[in-house]
């Protein structure tokens, strides 16, 4: 019985550790006119369905080390496999593909600061003065 309790404690600890994952937000450059995007709008942009939001050009950008699984789960509602199948359809019909992936968050922040149409997703704790949160 003691062994079972120990196993339960370990399992519960692991579960709570897993739950303490990044809180993902969507951000654009501080000077961007983009604001107040809904989850659906964010999903349409990152899935390659929308190139504008409210008439404003919107370009999704990814980067190495981004909190992908949290973003896919909370905004796109799709698994990695589902997304690959979706992007394969776009890519092999010549109409797009996954968002451009930069080397680091720093590169993504720099691009967002330069191009007001760029949007990125990141851990809320990593938002700085060069960015503004546009969703949620």
């Amino acid at each position: 019985m003691k062994t079972i309790r120990t196993l339960c404690l370990v399992a519960c600890s692991a579960a709570f550790t897993g739950a303490a994952s990044a809180e993902v937000v969507i951000a654009a450059g501080a000077a961007s006119p983009l604001a107040g995007l809904s989850k659906t709008q964010v999903a349409e942009v990152f899935l390659g369905k929308a190139k504008t939001v409210g008439g404003k050009p919107t370009k999704p950008v990814d980067y190495a080390g981004s909190p992908k699984s949290e973003f896919w789960d909370s905004y796109l509602g799709k698994s990695s496999d589902q997304l690959k199948a979706h992007y394969a359809k776009l890519q092999f019909t010549g109409l797009g593909g996954p968002p451009k992936e930069l080397g680091s968050l720093a590169d993504a922040k720099k691009l967002a600061a330069e191009d007001p149409s760029v949007i990125i997703y990141l851990d809320k704790a990593q938002v700085d003065s060069s960015l503004k949160v546009i969703s949620p």
């Binding site: 504008t52 939001v53 593909g97």
Partner: protein, 428 residues
């Protein structure tokens, strides 16, 4: 329209490149992270599959393929390999070249260019591309080669057979805009192409069409219309013209009241006839649930019959498994009664002519319904294993069907056949 052999010529020549591509998929990065330089990206897709009908009286193949096997495993029906080069993807001017190798009308594997075009992204709403592109007649027409992008092994032939041609050389204008709570995309296209089956070569002098797609959240709705001017060419045109000439013989009039009309039909497919295609479809893709419903029709002319197709598919994702079930059906304007009847005692030459005419129509009379049950398993990065069983019921069991379901001569058929398929789809 029917025909076929059991040759596997070329089947083995593709094994090495397909195996290499599988290895690349297993080892390589995900789609979108392919070998990409500033201006060039190289990627690909492929399918390794085996399929078998459980009835020695009827086989299964793609409509443009020659080989057909019945009651024996065939690996050259769905197996294919595609390689794509993207130049400056996402830029103002971009280009794409996609080559796909699969079994074709001669029975051997042949690589053909499916996409080769240059696209100008004028602004966020307008794009124009010119060159070669796959014709987007129905919902999955332009992506049906990419097995990895679909839940089942293949796009239901009950939809795809309404428009068996693949691509066109021409131009396309794509307009996209926000509309209400969603996005509207309109594609208008035009061009020319050629198309070969094992028995007939065709040339399409004018393909024009438009497709409107509206997506909002998990919902996608699509409506399309396409018009094609089609004519038979080469040796097959000579054979069809010879039939037309023979049918026009005034001496046949007492024996065959509709021979004159049929003569015109056979001559029209040589001179050029029109076909019109309409499609309506919708899909739902949210979380664990995926649904697809589609209806399409073809208004044929000359010897090309009217057809219709229906597809209903539902899938549920559970971890890496996606079990699905679908119902599909297709109809043609051909029925079991012969177009040209042969009264008892009619001359042998007339019976032979009637047989040739009726054979052309019977080869297209694959009216059927199918229930398909299967599952996709995303068991490894960039690779999916699929298994499915199709329970097919043909409307006519006594005629020599062709196209995707060729009958094997000298056999009897009860109209029911099951098709089992296992495939590995991959991207790299």
């Amino acid at each position: 329209m029917s025909g076929g052999g059991r040759s596997n010529t070329g089947e083995y020549t593709m094994r090495t490149p397909i195996a290499a591509a599988v290895a690349l998929a297993l080892a390589g990065p995900a789609v979108g992270q392919e070998a990409r330089f500033d201006w060039l990206a190289v990627s690909g897709f492929g399918t390794l599959a085996t399929s078998m009908t459980d009835d020695p009286a009827v086989g299964f193949r793609m409509p443009f393929q020659k080989n057909v096997k019945a009651d024996t495993w065939a690996t050259d029906v769905d197996s294919k390999l595609g390689l794509q080069f993207d130049v400056n993807r996402g830029g103002e001017f971009s280009g794409v070249l996609q080559v796909v190798a699969q079994q074709r009308d001669k029975g051997d594997y042949k690589a053909e260019v499916e996409w080769a075009n240059v696209m100008w992204t004028i602004n966020d709403s307008w794009r124009v591309r010119a060159g070669r592109m796959v014709t987007p007649v129905f919902m999955l027409s332009d992506s049906q080669n990419v097995g990895y992008s679909m839940v089942p092994v293949r796009y239901a032939r009950e939809m795809g057979d309404n428009y068996p041609l693949s691509r066109h050389d021409g131009a396309e204008v794509i307009f996209g805009a926000e509309l209400g709570p969603g996005r509207l995309q309109v594609q208008a296209f035009g061009g020319v192409t050629s198309y070969n089956t094992a028995s007939t070569s065709y040339k399409a002098d004018a393909i024009f069409g438009a497709a409107a797609t509206y997506s909002t959240g998990p919902w996608t709705f699509r409506a399309s219309g396409t018009s094609v001017q089609l004519k038979a060419v080469g040796n097959s045109a000579n054979s069809l013209s010879a039939i037309a000439t023979a049918l026009a013989n005034p001496a046949l009039a007492p024996l065959c009241p509709n021979c004159k009309e049929e003569s015109q039909n056979f001559q029209d497919i040589v001179d050029g006839s029109s076909g019109v295609f309409f499609g309506l479809g919708m899909s739902y893709d949210e979380g664990a649930f995926y649904g697809h419903a589609e209806y399409g029709i073809r208004q044929g002319s000359a010897i090309v019959p009217d057809t219709s197709g229906l597809l209903l598919l539902g899938a549920y994702r559970w971890r890496t498994l996606t079990p699905f079930i679908s119902y599909s059906m297709s109809t043609t304007s051909i029925d079991e009664a012969p177009v040209i009847a042969t009264p008892a005692g009619s001359p042998a030459a007339f019976r032979a002519l009637a047989g040739a005419v009726n054979g052309v129509y019977y080869g297209q009379a694959t009216d059927r319904s199918a229930i398909t049950i299967g599952s996709r398993w995303d068991f490894y990065r960039n690779v999916a294993l699929k298994v499915q069983a199709e329970f097919v019921e043909h409307e006519y069991d006594s005629i020599p069907m062709g196209g995707t379901w060729p009958r094997v001569a000298g056999t009897t058929y009860d109209g029911k056949v099951n098709l089992y398929t296992a495939s590995i789809d991959f991207i790299f």
